[in-house]
């Protein structure tokens, strides 16, 4: 089926049925998931699907509906449901659809090779990965290894003449293992996701990392409650910084539900913190030519040397704020209205190697796992559970499990005093390792 034409036709249909403005968002997807355990295939799942979401406006009011039945009758009925809802909601002058633009092509979003690789080879990769991880001394159990792939296409059209589409793919491979010692158990999980099959890390590298994570926290020692330096490993930095991103979400800012609502152009964090959102990175997992409502993506500095430089907007919040959309409309499939989200989000690398940071730490916790919700975006309060390695006089002394770390966003982000250079841009959220000079740690 010609989905470009279909989306355009359905926009017209919605207008004929009574919508003043209409947007049609269609997404196809295909997924394959293979799980192996104890060197045998355990589960294989495969499917392809397609669905459509309709956003319509009538008299400034908004209605939305979705369905995964593409028969003409079902589509018309679903559009009618959206129009019906648009009659009972409240008019809102900020309900607008973006206009048409020319989209920049982004290199490397789709890899045609993935689907052509034989199933048996994919299964074997997962088995090899599990074998390698289980072969590491001290690793005794496996939670399994997996290979996953997916591809899909997005089609969007609206009544302002906007029409666009793009195709993406991704594949990932991962393994989970358990290290045991007496009554102790510790898990280690590592995976790698890429747009292109050829870009996947080697199974050797992934296996070694999973095993290292499982082994490194065996024989933990509880530490006393105290204030000390906390080093956030690059793997966990975003469990802290996620709250900053929620707090610069245009919706939260406009609703007053953000600790950063009045902080534009103000320094709220250490000069070592620069955060960038890039929707156009070639082969980026978060890259796309346009956002969830068809606005061209950008590369933007959100935080520059500790100073807040930008909020995240979709068309609705942009109109309300009197700003332009920043291309941050996000869409979780075809079943939801556009929200606000980031693309490839990263913290700019600093000068130090992670080893230099450890060496420079007299007393501190090198955090490898963080649990909890990160910084609360409404009031900036931070509290989380943590595990990692205890550092004294620049050396790792022993593992630590089951402690807490806490502070206010201002205290924690303002106290970042060392930023490492180990930035891995192959993730959609990435940060180098960094150190917070001092935080409250809760222990015995």
């Amino acid at each position: 089926m010609d989905y470009i034409q279909l989306t355009r036709d359905l926009v017209e249909k919605a207008q004929k049925l009574g919508a003043d403005a209409a947007e049609v968002y269609l997404r196809t997807s295909r997924n394959l998931s293979i799980q192996v355990r104890d060197y045998e295939m355990e589960t294989i799942e495969e499917a392809a699907s397609v669905g459509i979401g309709f956003r319509v406006m009538a008299g400034g009011r908004l209605g939305f509906s979705h369905c995964n039945d593409l028969s003409a009758k079902a589509l018309e009925d679903t559009i009618m449901q959206a129009i019906h809802f648009a009659k009972i909601t409240t008019p809102d002058e900020y309900n607008v659809l973006p206009g048409s633009t020319v989209f920049t092509q982004i290199e490397g979003l789709y890899d045609p090779a993935i689907i052509s690789i034989p199933m048996d080879k994919k299964i074997q990769m997962a088995i090899d990965l599990e074998k390698l991880a289980m072969g590491v001394p001290g690793i005794s159990l496996s939670s399994g290894a997996s290979f996953r792939e997916g591809d899909g296409e997005v089609f969007i059209a609206n009544s302002n003449g906007l029409s666009g589409s793009y195709k993406t793919s991704s594949c990932s491979i991962g393994v989970g293992v358990v290290a045991e010692k007496g009554d102790q158990k510790n898990t280690g999980w590592e995976s790698c996701t890429r747009r292109f099959f050829a870009d996947l890390k080697s199974v050797e590298e992934i296996a070694a990392e999973a095993a290292r994570k499982a082994l490194e926290l065996i024989d933990p020692v509880m530490i006393p409650t105290q204030r000390a330096a906390v080093i956030f490993d690059s793997n966990v930095a975003f469990s802290l910084l996620g709250g900053v991103i929620s707090a610069i979400n245009g919706d939260s800012v406009l609703q007053g539900a953000s600790f950063l609502k009045n902080s534009m152009d103000q320094a709220f964090a250490s000069p070592l913190l620069t955060i960038i959102d890039d929707g156009r990175m070639p082969r980026g997992l978060g890259s796309a030519p346009f956002d969830g409502e068809g606005v061209a993506t950008q590369k933007r500095i959100l935080v520059e040397k500790g100073v807040l430089k930008g909020f995240l907007h979709n068309s609705y919040t942009a109109k309300r704020a009197g700003a332009a959309s920043t291309g941050n409309a996000s869409r979780r499939g075809f079943t939801t209205l556009p929200g606000i989200g980031t693309h490839n989000l990263y913290v700019e690398a600093g000068q130090h190697t992670p080893e230099e940071i450890i060496k420079a730490t007299r007393r501190g916790l090198w955090v490898k796992e963080v649990t909890g919700y990160g910084i609360n975006p409404v009031n900036g309060n931070f509290s989380g559970g943590a595990s990692g390695l205890w550092i004294e006089n620049g050396e790792v002394r022993h593992p630590v499990k089951g402690v807490t770390i806490a502070g206010s966003a201002a205290e924690v982000l303002g106290a970042i005093d060392m930023m490492a250079n180990n930035l891995d841009l192959n993730r959609s959220t990435a940060s180098p390792t960094f150190r917070v000079a001092e935080m409250q740690i809760g222990g015995k």
């Binding site: 355990r37 045998e40 589960t43 294989i44 799942e45 499917a47 699907s49 669905g51 009011r61 908004l62 209605g63 939305f64 509906s65 979705h66 369905c67 039945d69 028969s71 009758k73 079902a74 009925d77 009618m80 449901q81 019906h84 809802f85 648009a86 009972i88 409240t90 939670s143 399994g144 997996s146 358990v178 898990t187 999980w189 995976s191 409650t225 204030r227 609703q255 007053g256 539900a257 079943t335 939801t336 209205l337 649990t371 909890g372 609360n376 409404v378 009031n379 309060n381 931070f382 509290s383 989380g384 559970g385 089951g402 402690v403 807490t404 806490a406 502070g407 409250q440 809760g442 222990g443």
Partner: protein, 510 residues
């Protein structure tokens, strides 16, 4: 965050047990024929239905077992959902969705093959059967038992079916809640009300000859209230959810839900920094049971036990908790959010006592893990939708009521933390390490609840927490939640007021 981590999202407590008792007095609704459910209130005829041609299902199952395998199943689902959101006193959106499809599963030995399709046509079902049978390749065909209707008891009653409710009524409850939140106190600066309902119709047919169909209505109502006094700000949340018709709002009014959220938002404006370190925790009755859901419930789901990696592996019959601790998962509580009638594999829901007076009695299983462990099916095989394979999941999970008086539990705690409600948390089901974030908590000083404190994290290990519960109240209550384990599932968690000695609290001051 690794592959063994499960989490649960934030839901507050609600007096659901009372509702359930009232609900059981209502005559049981006759399960409607699925096509009837698809009619909607705007006079638009149904666009699609579940075509339950039994002969076709038999053929699909036979095709799924054509190259061998021990078990095959077809699961067909249709879900009609409505969501209306009000923020800042404006209706931001109304959403309507239809989602339907079918999944075919084959189990061969301990291997699972699964494929699904959005289009419920013979060709697509056969194709799904062939893909799913990949796990049994090169075997010889297995003969399935022809399907025939099975009997299952229902625990969901409906007085006002959601499909017959006018959208104007939905709008009305939202507006009432919004107004009540704003009227509570001038420091309530904003309210957000999220109304969701759905009717999920299921057809399950398998090679054991089971054929079942039913519908489950679901209502989910969330009120958030944000307070701001210029120097402090708190976003409070209260939720109400049941498998029920619209009569739910007659049992608990929208205003009551809103006032609870507003009260929390105002009370927490006075919150001070929480203390850090290990201390005694008293957890108020209700949604606090989510701590046990995470810390003990997930590790008792049989999939990780079957993999031999779960925290409770090999511990059946052993004393794992204090004498006062009895824990139950019960998918039959009338109209509760976690109630399922039968699970998504067709197994009758039931009351499963998991730990009785401290002794581990069993795990929660689905068909596959029951087979792997040589145990009974407990009715815990659940799936988010036709796009997912069933896995062992909880339903309504709670600590059974004890005999201690809640007031005595507090009065006998000299110093510690009184947790009135939790947000959500997560657990690593292999190691048993869990964490939770407090939504509303107070210091305990000399046996009394005193200063409110800011959202602190609670962490610990599942084994320690159930050994350290030394007081269990007589005031069992429940709250609704969303549980995530790769797929989401609606659950309730419950507990009476309990005291846990020595939990690590993550405050920002010493």
């Amino acid at each position: 965050m690794g592959g063994d981590t499960y989490k649960v999202r934030d839901i507050p407590r609600r007096k659901f047990l009372e509702l359930g008792i009232k609900g059981s007095l209502i005559t049981a609704a006759t399960p409607a024929i699925i096509t009837q459910l698809l009619s909607c209130n705007q006079g638009i005829p149904p666009t699609s239905g579940i075509h339950t041609d039994k002969a076709l299902l038999d053929k699909v199952i036979a095709r799924a077992l054509a190259s061998g395998g021990d078990f095959a199943e077809v699961y067909i689902e249709n879900r009609i959902s409505r969501q209306i959101v009000m923020e800042e006193s404006k209706f931001r959106s109304g959403l309507y969705g239809i989602s339907q499809g079918a999944g075919v599963r084959v189990i061969s030995g301990f291997k699972t093959g699964y494929a699904y399709t959005d289009e419920i046509t013979p060709e697509k079902l056969y194709r799904a059967a062939e893909v799913a049978s990949y796990v049994a390749r090169n075997g010889t065909p297995t003969a399935p038992v022809n399907i025939s209707p099975a009997q299952r008891e229902s625990f969901v009653t409906v007085k006002q079916p959601l499909g017959e409710v006018l959208d104007e009524k939905r709008i009305e409850v939202i507006e009432r809640a919004n107004q009540a939140a704003l009227d509570y106190d001038p420091r309530i600066r904003m309210a957000m009300v999220d109304y969701y309902d759905e009717v999920r119709s299921r057809v399950i047919a398998n090679s054991e000859g089971v054929y079942l169909q039913d519908e489950l209505p679901l209502l989910f109502f969330i009120v958030q209230a944000m307070s701001d006094n210029g120097s402090a700000r708190h976003m409070a949340r209260e939720r109400l959810s049941m498998h029920s018709g619209f009569e739910m709002f007659g049992e608990v009014t929208p205003e009551e839900v809103a006032r609870r959220a507003a009260r929390e938002a105002i009370d927490m404006l006075a919150a001070e920094a929480a203390p850090a370190g290990i201390m005694d925790v008293v957890m108020e009755n209700g949604w606090g049971g989510v701590l046990i859901h995470e810390a003990v419930g997930h590790p008792l789901e049989a999939d990780n036990i079957a993999k031999n990696i779960g925290a409770f592996t090999g511990k059946v019959g052993m004393k794992v908790a204090t004498d006062k601790f009895t824990m139950v998962d019960d998918g039959t509580l009338p109209n509760f959010r976690g109630t399922i009638n039968f699970d998504d594999e067709g197994t009758q829901a039931r009351r499963n006592v998991l730990i009785e007076n401290g002794v581990l009695l069993g795990y929660m299983t689905d068909i596959l893990s029951a087979k792997q462990l040589g145990m009974e099916r407990t009715g815990n095989g659940r799936r988010e939708s036709f796009r997912n394979i069933p896995i062992p999941r909880m339903t309504n999970t709670f600590i059974e009521a004890g005999t201690d008086k809640p007031a005595d539990i507090l009065a006998s705690t000299k110093k510690g933390l009184y947790v009135q409600s939790l947000s959500g948390g997560s657990v690593n089901s292999v190691t048993g390490m869990f964490n939770f974030t407090c939504r509303e908590a107070y210091l305990i000083e000399n046996g009394r609840k005193t200063t409110p404190v800011k959202g602190a994290t609670l962490i610990g290990s599942c084994m320690d927490v159930i050994r350290n519960i030394d007081a269990v109240g007589d005031d069992l209550d429940f709250g609704p939640g969303i549980c995530g384990k790769g797929q989401s599932a609606e659950v309730t968690a419950g507990q009476p007021t309990v005291r846990i000695r020595g939990i690590n609290v993550g405050g920002s001051r010493a």
